[in-house]
Amino acid sequence: MATVTNWIDHLSAKEVQGAVYPGVGTEGILVLIALVLWIGWHVICNMQETSKLEKLARKRHGASDYKNNISDW
C-alpha cells in the first residue's frame, strides 16, 4: 500500500513521482466508494426525515404548543 518507503530514493529519482498517497492506482475504486456513500446518505436520510415528519404531523400540535417545551437548564 505504501507508495513511498524511502524519501531519499524518492526525491533523488530522475523524475520525482508527484502522487504520494497510499494506493496510487486505486483512485477509480475510491471514487466508486465515494459515490455509493453519497447516494446512500440521501436515501437513508430521506427515509428518516419522511418518517419523522409523518409522525409529528399526526400529533397535530398547535402553533404555540412548543412554548410548553422551552427548557431552561
Binding site: V16, Q17, G18, A19, V20, Y21, V24, E27, G28, L30, V31, A34, L35, W38, H42, C45, N46, E49, T50, K52, L53, E54, K55, L56, A57, R58, K59, R60, H61, G62, A63, D65, Y66, N68, N69, I70, S71, D72, W73
Partner: protein
C-alpha cells in the same frame, strides 16, 4: 521545484489561496448565524442543520463533478472556440487547463508533490459554491424539507453556478468572447445566479403559513434574534474580504502571458488574467460597503436588518467592476444597487406573494443584476481579456465590455442558469411530494420533538436527588 524564486512564488500562491479559504469559511458561519437569528424559536435547530449539511453535500459533489464542469465547459460547448486548442467542444484534451486533470480519479486531485496549486484553487472555488447554496438556504427557511434542500444545494452549488463560472468567469469563457462579459468579483456568477435560483424555488414552494393575510397583505415575521442576525452579517462581511482576495491571482507575469516579446510585467490579476491591485479593490470594497450602508439606513428609515443587508447588497452591486472602478464610482453604484434591491423586494412580495424570508433574492439577485447592467455602461469599451480584443459576436477573439453584452449576461445569470433550473427542480420535487414539510409540522414547529425531549430531560434531571 528546483529554483528558489519559482518555489517561493508557488508556495506564496498556495498559501495565499489557503488563507482566502479560511477567511471565506466565515461567510458560512455568518450565514448559519443569520438564518438561525431570522428563524422562529420552534424551527431553530432544523434551520441550522439544513444550512450546515450543505457543507458536506456540496463538497463531495464538487470533488466528484463540480470542479470538472468548470474546466470542461468554457466553450459552451459549441458556442466559441477555446484559445488553448481552438476547438469549441468540451475541453477534455491534454492541454494545460483541461478538465481531464480534474476528474475525481486524477492523481492531481490529491496530495501531489508536482502540484501545489490545484487543491487550494479547488477549495477557493468550493467556498464560492457553499456561498451560492447558502444564499438559497436563507430564502426557504421554516418550510422546505432537508432532503429537497440538499438536492437543490447540490444543483446550484456543484452544477449551475459552475456552468456560469465556466462561461463567464474563466479566461477562456465564451461569454467574454461573444458578449464582452465582465464580472470580476461575482455580481452575476455567484449572486445573481443564486438569487434567481432562490426565486425559482420560492415560486413553487410558496410562503410560510401566516405570511400573508386573507386579503393578501404581507406580514412581517421576525427576525427573532436581531443580535444573531447582526453578528451573522458582520461575519459575512468579514468572509467577503477573503472572497475578494480569492477572486484574484496574486502574482503573474503578464508579458509572456500576452505574448509581448521581451516584456516582463508582474502584477496581481483578476480571474480573467487582466491586471488589478489588491490595494485598489480594498478601497472599492470599503467604499461600496459604505455606500450600501448609507442608503440602506436612509431608505429603510434606520431598520437594522435592512441597513446591514444593504451593506452587503452595495458590495454585491459594485462587485462586477470593482477591479477597475474609482472608489467613489463604486460607492455610487452600491447606492443605486441598494435602492433597486429594496424597492424590488417589496414590489415582488406584494405583487406575486413571494415570501423571501431573509431578502436573499433582493440582496443577491436584484443587486447582482443591477451591478452587471451598470458595469456594462461604466466599463464600456474596456477589454474583457488581455489576450486579444475583437468585435462582438465573432467568438474567435474577445469582445470588449459593452452594455448590451452585460445585459444579456445578466439575463443568462439570473434567469437562464438561476431562475429556470430552480423552478424546474422545485416543480419535480413538489411533484414527488418531497419539497415542503407537512402543514401540521410547520404549525407545530420543526423542532417540536427535540424541544419536548429536552424538556423531559430537564424535568428528570431537576427532580433527581442523586
Amino acid at each position: 521545484m528546483t529554483d528558489e524564486l519559482g518555489a517561493l512564488t508557488t508556495v506564496f500562491t498556495e498559501f495565499y489561496y489557503w488563507i482566502t479559504v479560511v477567511l471565506m469559511f466565515l461567510i458560512h458561519v455568518g450565514f448559519c448565524m443569520y438564518e438561525v437569528g431570522a428563524s422562529r424559536y420552534k424551527h431553530h435547530q432544523h434551520t441550522l442543520m439544513k444550512n450546515t449539511m450543505l457543507i458536506p453535500l456540496v463538497t463531495i459533489t464538487w470533488f466528484l463533478f463540480g470542479w470538472w464542469i468548470y474546466w470542461a465547459f468554457p466553450t459552451g460547448p459549441g458556442l466559441a472556440p477555446s484559445i488553448m486548442n481552438e476547438s469549441a467542444a468540451l475541453i477534455t484534451d491534454d492541454s494545460a487547463f483541461s478538465a481531464k486533470w480534474y476528474v475525481p480519479s486524477s492523481d492531481l486531485m490529491a496530495v501531489n508533490l508536482g502540484d501545489h496549486i490545484s487543491g487550494v484553487f479547488w477549495a477557493a472555488f468550493l467556498l464560492f459554491s457553499w456561498t451560492a447554496a447558502s444564499i438559497v438556504s436563507g430564502a426557504v427557511i421554516e418550510r422546505i424539507t432537508t432532503f429537497a434542500f440538499g438536492i437543490l444545494a447540490i444543483a446550484i452549488g456543484s452544477v449551475f453556478w459552475t456552468i456560469d463560472a465556466a462561461w463567464g468567469w474563466h479566461f477562456d469563457g465564451w461569454m467574454l468572447k461573444i458578449l464582452g462579459y465582465h464580472d470580476a468579483y461575482a455580481s452575476g456568477v455567484i449572486h445573481a445566479v443564486a438569487g434567481g435560483f432562490a426565486l425559482g424555488i420560492l415560486c413553487v414552494l410558496g410562503p410560510r403559513i401566516g405570511k400573508f393575510s386573507s386579503t393578501g397583505e404581507p406580514r412581517n415575521i421576525g427576525p427573532r434574534n436581531p443580535w444573531l442576525v447582526t453578528i451573522g452579517l458582520f461575519l459575512i462581511y468579514t468572509g467577503f474580504w477573503g472572497f475578494y482576495a480569492a477572486c484574484n491571482i496574486p502574482i503573474f507575469d503578464l508579458g509572456p502571458e500576452y505574448g509581448m516579446e521581451g516584456v516582463t510585467y508582474f502584477t496581481a490579476t483578476n480571474i480573467y488574467v487582466t491586471p488589478t491591485t489588491l490595494s485598489g479593490i480594498t478601497m472599492n470594497f470599503l467604499m461600496s460597503l459604505s455606500g450600501g450602508l448609507l442608503v440602506g439606513y436612509l431608505i429603510s428609515k434606520g431598520d437594522p436588518f435592512w441597513t446591514y443587508s444593504s451593506g452587503l447588497a452595495g458590495i454585491i452591486c459594485a462587485s462586477a467592476g470593482n477591479d477597475l472602478y474609482h472608489p467613489i464610482q463604486s460607492m455610487i453604484i452600491a447606492m443605486i444597487g441598494v435602492v433597486v434591491a429594496y424597492k424590488m423586494h417589496y414590489w415582488v412580495e406584494r405583487k406575486f406573494k413571494i415570501d423571501d424570508a431573509v431578502g436573499a433574492v433582493a440582496v443577491h439577485g436584484y443587486a447582482g443584476v443591477a451591478g452587471l447592467i451598470i458595469c456594462g455602461f461604466v466599463l464600456n469599451g474596456y477589454p474583457s481579456s488581455g489576450y486579444s480584443v475583437g468585435s462582438m459576436w465573432v467568438g474567435t477573439d474577445y469582445a470588449p465590455i459593452n452594455p448590451l453584452g452585460m445585459f444579456i449576461g445578466a439575463i443568462i445569470m439570473f434567469f437562464v442558469l438561476g431562475f429556470l433550473p430552480g423552478w424546474i427542480l422545485a416543480k419535480i420535487l413538489h411533484g414527488m411530494g418531497k419539497l415542503r414539510i407537512p402543514r401540521e409540522v410547520e404549525i407545530a414547529g420543526l423542532d417540536y420533538d427535540i424541544m419536548e425531549a429536552s424538556r423531559d430531560d430537564e424535568k428528570s434531571v431537576a427532580s433527581s436527588t442523586r
